[in-house]
Symmetry: C2
Subunit: 544 residues, 2 copies
């Protein structure tokens, strides 16, 4: 059949069928759906091919730029997707894939997501979302209360107020951090006398009006890269983000933070925001938030806490005190798609002051009219899906105590894994878990003994050799497909602050068992032994 003939077959009638006729339960799509519903883990296990394929090979199957001129049958296309895409996707929910910030999802999430997609609400305005708007406002209220514990009255007054907002729901932590700093910038450089504010007149005139030489955002050197990105977007420049050194537990050094504030004040550079990290991406540590709040107060700047990862810890009565001081933050980022176990695409930021979002308010003729409760008047994004429903349902079905169990078991598991690593003569624990993250590396016991007495220069050389081995093990393990730890590079104080490559694990998946953790270490020892290049070289260099 010629292409022209096939294309002609795509009549309007055929197309209408696509919009009206559901898949038959015995069709390919129907069968796949049934399999996903009945046994998602089994489906993923069966269809995702464990062993590694080179990206360049995969790219060959996604090579053309021509939009097809012939319609594909749904069933044919589903086979294509299973074969070319699903089979080479990443099993992010596997209990033995502990290198990501993803986890298995509660089973009710899948049908709820389908409901969400079917309803296809647009949360930019009430007209296209109706009850989803108060629902999202309530979710923001709940998360606000989790952080700030204001009184009942506070929520009754502000949660559903048209001209206020307790926060902003968004696609993820990056947009949440950007929104927080946008609000901070616009409030700090607000209208004043003849000056109409940075939102209207821009940064150039704002700095001239206020007489600042520049602005700065201060965060520990473990701060997330989204802060630099935000500073770039907001016109402040990446260099306005100043990295403050950390202590041996990856927490910001408050003395150095304050010294920097003083130095900047002398240079007439205004500190826009101090940013505390509650759960660093690489090591899961939490800054001394209360001390930071004191400094922010003293220097009269915005205090933001990036709790994209650690925010969910507030749901644990046992561990929430780790984040003491977060209630003094002006804004807090929390990712629901991380430790709150909803799928990708659910971040949020809450604001202590319900009026602070007025600084980013905007209106249009056809929506977001003044006085309306449209959510879109206080968000960076415009059209947005009803993801808040998934958070809402999870908060109700799992409930606070259920989340506490999930958070606690993650931390306990991390402590158990840390003890395993500590006890094992061939591994070196690099960072202790404070939340459910830790880092470590494989270092044969005789190498550890050698390094204990070697000088800094020698150790630097040895560390470079260990780095190669670490990379080899991490890569081989990922390629073998049974399990996965990620890798990153962090400074280690005992080696004079030199950066070394480490394995990084995140133990948030409730299905990860102690046995899996033991197997992962065992596999890493085996892989190290197989390294005919890196291990011998390392041993040779550290023989007494």
């Amino acid at each position: 059949m010629t292409a022209g003939k096939r294309a002609a077959e795509a009549s309007l009638e055929t197309l209408h069928r696509i919009f009206t006729i559901p898949e038959a339960p015995d069709s390919t799509l129907g069968r796949i759906e049934k399999e996903i519903s009945e046994n998602l883990a089994g489906f993923l296990g069966n269809h995702i091919v464990a062993t590694e394929q080179a990206l360049t090979d995969i790219e060959k199957d996604f090579a053309g730029a021509v939009i097809p001129e012939q319609p594909a049958f749904v069933s044919d296309h589903m086979h294509h997707l299973l074969d070319k895409l699903v089979s080479r996707s990443v099993h992010t929910s596997s209990p033995s894939f502990i290198g990501h910030m993803t986890s298995a999802l509660p089973y009710f999430i899948l049908p709820l997501s389908k409901l969400m997609v079917g309803l296809n609400q647009n949360l930019v305005k009430i007209e296209t979302s109706k009850a989803f708007t108060p629902l999202e406002r309530q979710v923001l209220g709940m998360m606000h209360r989790l952080v700030y514990s204001e009184h009942e009255d506070f929520y009754q007054n502000w949660m559903h107020s048209a001209n206020h907002s307790l926060g902003a729901f968004c696609s993820g932590g990056t947009v949440a951090n950007l929104t927080a700093l946008w609000v901070a910038r616009n409030n700090m450089l607000k209208a004043d006398g003849d000056f109409k504010g940075v939102a209207r007149e821009g940064l150039f005139k704002a700095l001239k009006h206020y007489g600042y030489e520049g602005m700065a955002i201060l965060v520990s050197e473990r701060g997330h890269y989204s802060l630099k990105k935000s500073a770039d977007v907001l016109g402040l420049g990446q260099e306005s983000v100043i990295a403050i050194p950390t202590d041996d537990r990856n927490r910001i050094d408050c003395q150095k933070l304050e010294e920097k504030c003083q130095a900047l004040a002398k240079d007439n550079i205004k500190v826009l925001s101090i940013v505390g990290v509650a759960g660093t991406t690489e090591t899961g540590n939490i800054d001394p938030l209360s001390d930071m709040a004191d400094i922010a107060e003293k220097y009269q700047c915005h205090f933001h806490v990036d709790a994209a990862w650690g925010g969910a810890t507030l749901l644990s009565n046992k561990y929430r005190s780790l984040l003491d001081g977060i209630e003094r933050a002006d804004s807090v980022t929390i990712d629901a798609h991380k430790q709150m176990y909803v799928p990708m695409g659910a971040g949020l930021v809450v604001f202590k002051n319900p009026s602070s979002v007025a600084a980013i308010e905007h209106h249009a003729e056809y929506i977001l009219r003044k006085g309306s409760k449209d959510l879109g008047s206080h968000t960076l994004e415009g059209s947005r899906p009803g993801m808040a429903m998934l958070v809402y349902a999870s908060l109700h079905i799992i409930s606070r105590p259920g989340y506490e169990l999930l958070i606690n078991q993650g931390i306990d598991k991390a402590k158990y894994f840390a003890s395993l690593i500590d006890q094992h003569s061939e591994f070196e624990l690099v960072t202790q878990p404070e939340l459910c993250l830790l880092t470590y590396r494989y270092v044969p016991s005789q190498v550890q003994a050698f390094m204990a007495t070697a000088d800094v220069d020698t150790n630097q050389h040895i560390n470079r050799l260990i780095d190669k081995l670490t990379k080899f093990i991490q890569k081989s393990q990922r390629e073998a497909g049974k399990s996965f730890v990620s890798r990153t590079r962090i400074e280690v104080q005992k080696y004079g602050g030199v950066k070394v490559l480490v394995f990084r694990v995140v133990l948030a998946n409730p299905l990860t068992t102690n046995e899996i953790l033991e197997d992962i270490l065992e596999e890493q020892v085996e892989l190290a032994q197989k390294s005919i290049q890196y291990l011998p070289e390392l041993i040779e260099n550290t023989s007494f």
Copy 2:
């Protein structure tokens, strides 16, 4: 049972079940899912209550800020969601709801969305998305080719290149427009001599270095509000967005555009970008893109086209020439969740020059390492879901000719509706459809006759009375729940450019029939007759 006791029941074992055990087909959730799968339209029709409820009433059900201390049974919570949320959501896919930019979705979208959620890939990096990364790059390549029609070699060279990107996939048009202007700003204020570029040093130093007094973004008065928001976020200020008047077909007046460029140059204000609109949100008109490209070239500024709505028209060989000149744009925004019939949360921007995204490139230690193909190094967002899969599948299953039929039928339907309105003595067509959007209002024939000879002041007064009637009809129709048109306020040339309230319809839903359109007019006539306040007042004021 006390709260404490219930909470204690949420043991880890119970929680593990939530992560492993699928819903039984006969459970509430299972039944709901089956209903959605087998007959989504029926499900929505059955569960969404048509008649209007006051938002303040709905808010009462979403009032508390306390996160539940007791877990809810999944089935109980599902009943709660059906009762309190779904029943009061908006039937965005209803064929008679023609006021939104939403439509019914192809049936394969629902199971595919479920697959997407189940896979839970994170497209920020290859490590958590693998084959989804080349897939997204291919989708961007296809959309790039749709706009720019470069040669095969071009796509072979750049589509999968680590240091290039043909575009950025994102959550929607607002982020797409923001990304485009961010790229434009960073390229225009790039590193130069001692100056390290706006990305690193910020806007204040950038303008000082380049010696500009300010920057401007020029767009027609029909431009989307996201442009002002972007200007605010980017530190340029909302006032940097300058609205250029339009002609009687809502298209930018190029002579006035060029005059403004000249005036700004004299004031030493650099034009950052001229923005063409391809499908205005309110009227669906398309700017003269080719003429605008000439002006952008002459004034050496970025030329962006916001084709969030109209971009899909390029899929129609019959109508794509309406967008002639778009291939000269430096960047183009297209929303896949609009006329490409995928669900909420799928926008994208393509860039003519695959190197231009280098201006917003960023890296981190643990991901987005230099030379990697991680998509996150060139996007505003960080973690992102695999929505590109839905666009990919739709492009294959519907195919280009299928999309052409969908686009064409929308435009044809709008023309038919326009003719209905034109022929009807009681209606006034305000804007002719160029794409599938049009605006109109209800004006009794004797009022039309009166206005034809009345002076401007009288007509202004009459228009205010008609506005009240328009608002009444639109609101009553929405509240009755059978059908929905939206309303907006636009200038009308024949009344001296005064703004009037109009009904706005978007005819993208392939299931909207001619009968539905006829019924909508009929209902509006009936509603007008019922207006015991506004219609009599109007008639009285226009009696000869």
